[in-house]
């Protein structure tokens, strides 16, 4: 297993939350974990014994209703931390975490995290900032759903969000490739309707669609819908 140094983790992005995590004991116990596309990292209600930081790749948080239907709550990328709540509160995870792509995780031992929580205010502050980032991200994605607009507008907003969160290549292609069903799950609609709307956007010239590849031609026109 490759060692995941905190320094490396810090380089993942300019993320305050890891800036002071350079504690020897945490470092000693961190290790990399390679996860294949579609694999479940942890399940709702599962008591975690690792805190995960995404070094490379993308994941989703989701929950399942009593009919077994999946509802995607959030997308996570490089530098995002997963499992905080379970590790700190010693309770089962609130969500199911699944890899959307080949993913490399940096894993920290629960016991080391808990030791530092008790003894190191810098470390605590780092985690507090991670929670603040989380809450900000939730607020941001929240505007996708809660604004009282139609699903057409929400899809436009979701595509713009994905472009911002995961980036685009020089041609404008979204770096993240989601299934239609996943988009539907985020927006709380059917996969057929997503397809209809994507076709509608394509006909309007806002974007190009080729299976799971989506190229945004005009972010402006998508924004104007909103």
């Amino acid at each position: 297993m490759e060692r995941c140094t905190i320094i490396k983790a810090q380089q993942l992005r300019n993320f305050e939350s890891l800036s002071k995590m350079a504690l020897d004991r945490v470092l000693e116990t961190s290790e990399s974990l390679f996860v294949s596309k579609g694999a479940i990292i942890f399940k709702e209600n599962q008591l975690l014994n690792k805190l995960y930081c995404i070094k490379e790749g993308a994941c989703k948080f989701s929950t399942f209703d009593n009919l077994g239907r999946e509802h995607i709550l959030r997308f996570l990328g490089k530098g995002d931390i997963m499992g905080k709540r379970s590790i700190i509160s010693n309770k089962g995870a609130n969500v199911t975490a699944t890899a959307l792509t080949e993913t490399v995780l940096c894993c920290f031992d629960k016991s080391e995290i808990q030791y530092n929580l008790k003894t190191n205010t810098d470390f605590c502050n780092d985690l507090l900032h991670a929670f603040i980032e989380d809450a900000n991200a939730v607020d941001k994605t929240r505007t996708i759903y809660c604004a009282n607009k139609g699903i057409k507008q929400r899809l436009a907003q979701l595509l713009l969000y994905l472009a911002e969160k995961f980036g685009q290549d020089p041609s404008g292609k979204l770096m993240i490739r989601l299934k239609r069903e996943d988009m539907a799950s985020v927006l709380g609609t059917s996969q057929e309707y997503i397809i209809n709307l994507l076709t509608h956007f394509k006909n309007k010239g806002f974007l190009q669609v080729n299976r799971s590849e989506i190229v945004l031609n005009s972010k402006e026109e998508l924004r104007e819908l909103i």
Copy 2:
């Protein structure tokens, strides 16, 4: 101003997050603030200099879109803490906080909070747990919107949530009284449609409606809709 002792604050509810906040200096600077119904406690982007804990009453967090329409993000009640993110990160508030009823707040000085963040891991852990509670509440309310169900089902779920969060009197009447417009803002729909749905529920016998008073007759039947 009445002194708000931490002990009192703790009694507000069985809330871990305040259990160890018994720090003399914080205590010294805490004071009560009385807020009338409809008053704004703080606005989005405003840099806060107090951390607020609700002693009595109910509040809402909301945000406004570029057309000026309000979107309610969350409801807050007894024991809930407001303003954490701004106080810790020294940035503007992410939401606008408004009193839904006559409200009594316990206010803590920013400088004292920040001093304790730097020196006291117990205090940090308390705030971490407050963030965890927040995130759990968000997840819970989230199921109201993101589950791919119709607005009828979402309204049923919202009513059940309000009953759980703010309680009911012996007759089943919701202790919190919301405007139709506020319910519409939470669910992202129009106030007229909320009214139509409430009438529909009334005709079905699930509840009684008398202006802003709502009596839930059959929580079971509401649950079955979901």
